[in-house]
């Protein structure tokens, strides 16, 4: 048998049939659903008189529009409320394996609740009308975002029409330094290959630095694959994966567990598998990262400076850099550590898991946020993460430092609820996108790890977390 990549194995296991031009019908095991990208799909299904193919594949939650405080008031924005109520009604009408509605103890960001409930299992195809579905690739899944038409297609047929992507191996070898996290690895990779570097590819992350990451870290990394242009990122299954999945509510039990584990152990690239592209990074050379512009590829080390567009030879790139600096209100060659911030956001499907909150709390313990920081938000990824953090006393550390401790949701990652930046405000954010207006019209986002966000909160400007740990 020819050597296969992990992606080859996942692909081959899910092909139902292939058209003459290579377009395949790919079977979908898990369909995650949230309120923003599903209403038109359910409506389309209804209008065509179609039934969902396999309701037990659906796991749904409301996360984008839900408020993170004053839950007693419900969802005050009537347009947001209508969207969440539409999801309630759609799931009531068609059913689901699980639904975690607003205020449910297990409600949270769709990419946090899938894994923590064992609804994301190794070897699955996982889709969701959300680009950060790549997160689930951390479990050795083929997981990627889809549009609403495809949400409807999966509801109706349990399949997607797909062409096989090219394969890219991103190998990161060596030990990660203290204070250097999966987020920094992700940003360093994006800085290296660019936000279009992974276009048309499925990325497998490998190497000793990746193996050393926890599942939370691997999820952070795969989450950001889409920011490198790759719809899907993935990590091979190992003991860390299996230990994480064991005992989760929807994980297989008894004899099924043993059968599943035997299969999951095969979910890695064969030693001589061939990739279309290979990218290699030295983990020892990765420092904490801070973005300076309006694309995640606009990133430098914390000890670096804002680059000078005048030094860029490509006119299209130079134009992009100039526009980014104008939007960000930054001058070329400004040291990153001199950039003062107004707000801090710790949360999002990238960095809102228990390990992220622990890392931030470790920096904040016994310290306070700087006077110029108007608002610092800690937003756990789910009700279960929040509960665990509170059991560990992390909430008290955040609150003592001057943070607001909020309820779970997407929150200020994309500001569909009330959590947002005002025009011109500058934020140290653990989210995934620094696009113009992403965290609120006119808002200025700098992407960092949770530990770096905490260090910036304390200093009032970006700071090297390695100097405070």
């Amino acid at each position: 048998m020819p050597a296969k990549t992990l992606y080859d194995k996942l692909w081959d296991d899910h092909v139902v049939r292939v058209e003459a031009d290579g377009t395949a019908l790919l079977y979908i095991d898990r369909h995650l659903v949230h309120e923003v990208t599903s209403p038109q799909a359910f409506e389309g299904l209804r209008l065509a008189g179609r039934q969902p193919w396999r309701v037990s594949s659906i796991v749904a939650t409301a996360d984008h529009n839900t408020p993170t405080d004053h839950w007693d008031r419900g969802i005050e924005d009537p347009v947001s409320r209508q969207q969440v109520e539409t999801l309630d009604a759609n799931i009531r009408a068609v059913g689901a394996k699980a639904y975690f509605p607003f205020k449910d103890a297990r409600q949270g960001i769709v990419h946090v609740i899938g894994p923590e409930n064992g609804a994301t299992l190794p070897g699955m195809t996982v889709v969701c009308g959300d680009s950060h579905t790549s997160t689930h690739g951390a479990f050795g899944c083929l997981a990627h975002g889809i549009g609403t038409s495809e949400v409807e297609h999966v509801l109706a047929t349990q399949c997607l029409l797909q062409k096989k992507m090219k394969s890219m191996l991103v190998r990161v070898e060596g030990p990660l330094g203290t204070g250097v996290t999966a987020k920094d690895v992700a940003l360093a990779i994006i800085g290296h290959i660019g936000t279009a570097g992974g276009n048309g590819h499925a990325i497998e992350f490998a190497g000793s630095a990746i193996r050393s990451l926890s599942m939370e870290g691997r999820m952070t990394l795969c989450n950001m694959a889409i920011e490198a242009g790759a719809r899907a990122g993935m990590v091979a299954v190992d003991d860390v994966t299996i230990a994480y999945v064991r005992g989760r509510p929807f994980a297989p039990k008894g004899a099924d567990w043993d059968r599943a584990v035997a299969y999951w152990r095969t979910l890695h690239s064969d030693p001589d598998a061939r990739f279309d592209h290979i990218v290699e990074l030295d983990a020892r050379r990765i420092a904490p990262q801070v973005t300076w512009g309006t694309s995640p590829e606009m990133v430098v080390d914390v000890n670096g400076a804002v680059p000078d567009p005048a030094a860029e030879k490509d006119p299209v790139k130079r134009n992009g850099m100039e526009k980014a600096l104008a939007y960000m209100g930054l001058a070329p060659r400004t040291p990153i550590k001199d950039i003062r911030i107004d707000k801090v956001f710790i949360g999002s499907c990238t960095n809102s898991r228990i390990e992220d909150l622990r890392a931030a709390a470790a920096v904040l313990k016994g310290r306070s946020i700087a006077a110029n920081v108007r608002l610092a938000l800690a937003v756990p990824g789910s009700g279960l993460v929040k509960r665990q953090a509170e059991e560990e006393g992390l909430d008290k550390v955040f609150i003592a430092a001057g943070f607001e401790w909020r309820g779970p949701g997407c929150s200020m990652c994309l500001a569909m609820n009330a959590d947002r930046l005002e025009p011109g405000e500058r934020c140290a954010s653990t989210s995934n996108r620094n696009f113009e207006g992403r965290q609120g019209p006119g808002g200025r986002t700098h992407l960092v790890s949770p530990a770096m966000a905490a260090a910036a909160a304390v200093a009032g400007h970006f700071a090297d977390v390695r100097e405070v740990l």
Binding site: V16, R17, E19, D21, T23, L25, V36, T37, P39, Q40, W53, N65, D77, V79, Q82, T86, L121, M124, S131, T133, G145, I146, G147, T148, S149, E150, E152, H153, A156, T157, Q158, C159, L161, K163, M165, T195, A196, N199, I226, G229, A230, R231, F250, P252, D256, A260, Y263, E297, V316, K317, N319, G320, L414, A415, M416, R433, F435, G437, R438, P441
Partner: protein, 212 residues
């Protein structure tokens, strides 16, 4: 879905790389539960001087005179000329919905983000990939020639310029068929319902935990 066959359309240029879907249609408009009506809010933050809100009449809002689509010479454009990695970021299909609702039927650029690219085909929108040097030349020609139009023939897979150049582009045969015929791909897939059931039965036997 509206079929796409031949288009002879006015071209508008959007000269910046990595245009993301947050820029194409900002998040506040994603709260709609409809598929239509996004056109007036396409590129909302660049297009208007104020901040747009869903459910608000856009006709009286102050326009940004510097934004390219507000220039009279591009009124009625049906072809959007773009730079690399257009449509990166979120998977929101509201982006192609907004572009289509605004009046565009085709995009021409050196590359697109994968999910956006895929979403276009589901909405009768043709994203054409041409080599970067050709795209660069088109940007210069559009800028220099008021009323610059291109003729796009999907069946022939060609883009024809006013000065008689014919540029060929590639497209997956399956996607081409669906666009030419305006076909509903759910209906096409359901023709294979028996295959899907057979596959499911096979997997249910080997990996029963997936069907619990």
């Amino acid at each position: 879905m509206k079929p796409f066959t031949v288009l002879d359309g006015l071209v508008a240029p959007l000269d910046r790389p990595n245009v993301d879907t947050d820029a194409i249609i900002p998040k506040q408009f994603l709260k709609s539960i409809l598929r239509s009506g996004f056109g007036p809010n396409l590129f909302d933050e660049w297009r208007y001087m104020d901040v747009g809100q869903p459910g608000v009449d856009n006709s009286g809002r102050p326009l940004n005179p510097n934004f390219v689509l507000n220039q009279p010479r591009y009124r009625g454009a049906q072809v959007l000329l773009t730079r690399e990695n257009f449509g990166c970021g979120s998977s929101r299909e509201h982006a192609p919905w907004a572009i289509e609702d605004f009046g565009f039927r085709a995009l021409i650029g050196p590359s697109y983000a994968d999910i956006f690219f895929n979403n276009c085909f589901k909405n009768g929108l043709l994203p054409i990939v041409l080599p970067a040097n050709e795209v660069d030349r088109l940007f210069k020609e559009v800028d220099a020639t008021p009323g610059f139009r291109l003729r796009i023939d999907l069946d022939a897979q060609t883009v024809s310029t006013p000065d008689g150049r014919t540029l060929r582009f590639d497209i997956d045969p399956f996607r081409k068929e669906c666009l030419l015929g305006g076909l509903d791909d759910i209906g096409l897939t359901l023709r294979h319902a028996d295959h899907i059931r057979e596959y499911e039965e096979r997997r249910r036997a080997t990996q029963p935990w997936l069907f619990a």
